[in-house]
């Protein structure tokens, strides 16, 4: 029974997953909550591991959730296959149309408008995923256990956003500005930030 649920859920996630890995988190989060496959803690840990391991984040998540929910390799396989099936069907149909008529569908108004609006909706989905992790409804948060969690959150946010602002500001002395920019860009790498947060966690909490 859990296998059927898992299969149908990931089929749904594959079918409605627009806008890349982060937006897909939101869909996976909802399915996990509805079916109670795992604790919040386990889910956040899966997100962390999915972001620092190679490959598409959605596949990483599907494989891990499939395993954790069923405790078996078959759960992993089922979830991974299920998330790919809608892609296969829809993308192949689109490819067939595209290669036959080779239209410049990017200029089609229905296409461009829908993509534009989807981008906005996806923003809301990602925000909801973050909010649910910060403060779940009717539950204590597992990600934010004390003020130190907020410090870590703030620092990581800062380093992720910083490169965006550096692009706009022209440095006073060019050479040192270049070096500074490179340093910030290096620091803003998600894997490095997760590793540093892990080190901070070890120092603070053990």
């Amino acid at each position: 029974m859990i296998y059927l649920q898992l299969f149908l859920s990931f089929l749904k996630i594959g079918l409605f997953g627009f806008g890349g890995g982060l937006a897909i988190f939101s869909l996976i989060q909802h399915e996990i909550e509805v079916h109670g496959w795992m604790t919040q803690e386990e889910f956040v840990d899966i997100l962390a591991i999915s972001q620092v391991t190679p490959g598409p984040i959605g596949i990483n998540c599907a494989t891990y959730v499939g395993y954790t929910a069923t405790g078996s390799v078959w759960g992993s396989l089922l979830a991974t296959v299920a998330i790919v099936i809608p892609s296969l069907i829809i993308m192949l149909s689109l490819c067939k149309v595209y290669f036959v008529i080779s239209t410049r569908f990017q200029h089609n108004i229905y296409f461009t408008r829908t993509m534009q609006m989807l981008r906005l909706s996806v923003l809301g989905m990602i925000a909801a995923a973050a909010l649910l992790l910060i403060q779940p409804v009717n539950q204590p948060s597992v990600s934010f256990i004390d003020w130190k969690s907020w410090v870590i959150f703030g620092v990581v946010c800062l380093f992720t956003i910083l490169p965006m602002f550096l692009k706009n500001t022209a440095g006073v002395s060019k050479k040192s500005a270049e070096v500074f920019k490179k340093f910030i860009n290096l620091l803003s790498h998600p894997i490095l930030l997760i590793v540093l947060a892990g080190v901070a966690g070890y120092v603070i909490y053990s």
Binding site: P56, G58, M125
Partner: protein, 182 residues
């Protein structure tokens, strides 16, 4: 061996890109356009548009496109397996091992530090994404309403996507019909 090449190329892409679909795109461009010359840049841009338009993972969608374009059905099998297999095996390995270690106090402490960082990595890119989606004070209503409905209302994100697509298509259709009448 064409299929082996397709498989190998996507295996490389799947193994050496960390951070999901968008990061993969530059690697895919390097391998497929520059090194192999399977498609040109114009077609690559078409591929990205298609891969984003179709639901599902962008990396997998692009693998399907290249596989189909270069090797038909068998090509698709080769590229999709190549893109998915490294992830699947690596995560499975981690899942098997992590089960035994996750309750160690040291591991728990490490993850206590990592969890807020993960939330930050989800929340922080929103600034950049909002900027590139050309958000205004008026259009900000859509993501804010969506976020609140999912967060506090417990609504499935599936509905958000569904309503967005149907409403936009309907609105565009009505507007087009109106303008063609005049």
């Amino acid at each position: 061996m064409l299929y082996l090449q397709l498989f190998w190329t996507y295996l490389k892409i799947g193994t050496f890109t960390i951070g999901g679909g968008y990061v993969m795109l530059s690697m895919i461009e390097h391998e497929v356009v520059e090194r192999k010359g399977w498609i040109d840049r114009e077609e690559f841009l078409n591929m990205i548009a298609l891969a984003q338009a179709a639901p599902g993972l962008i990396a997998v969608n692009s693998a399907i496109f290249i596989g189909w374009r270069i090797g038909g059905w068998r090509g698709v099998i080769a590229t999709v397996l190549g893109a998915v297999l490294p992830s699947f095996l690596i995560i499975l390995g981690i899942a098997l091992v992590f089960q035994d270690y996750k309750d160690l106090p040291a591991v728990e402490a490490v993850f206590k530090g990592i969890r807020p960082a993960v939330v930050a990595l989800i929340a922080a890119p929103l600034c950049k994404m909002a900027h590139s989606a050309k958000i205004t004070w008026v259009t900000a209503i859509i993501p804010i309403a969506g976020a609140l409905l999912i967060w506090l209302g417990g609504l499935s994100p599936v509905w958000i996507i569904f309503v967005t697509v149907v409403a936009t298509l309907l609105y565009t259709y009505l507007k087009e019909r109106k303008s063609s009448k005049h």
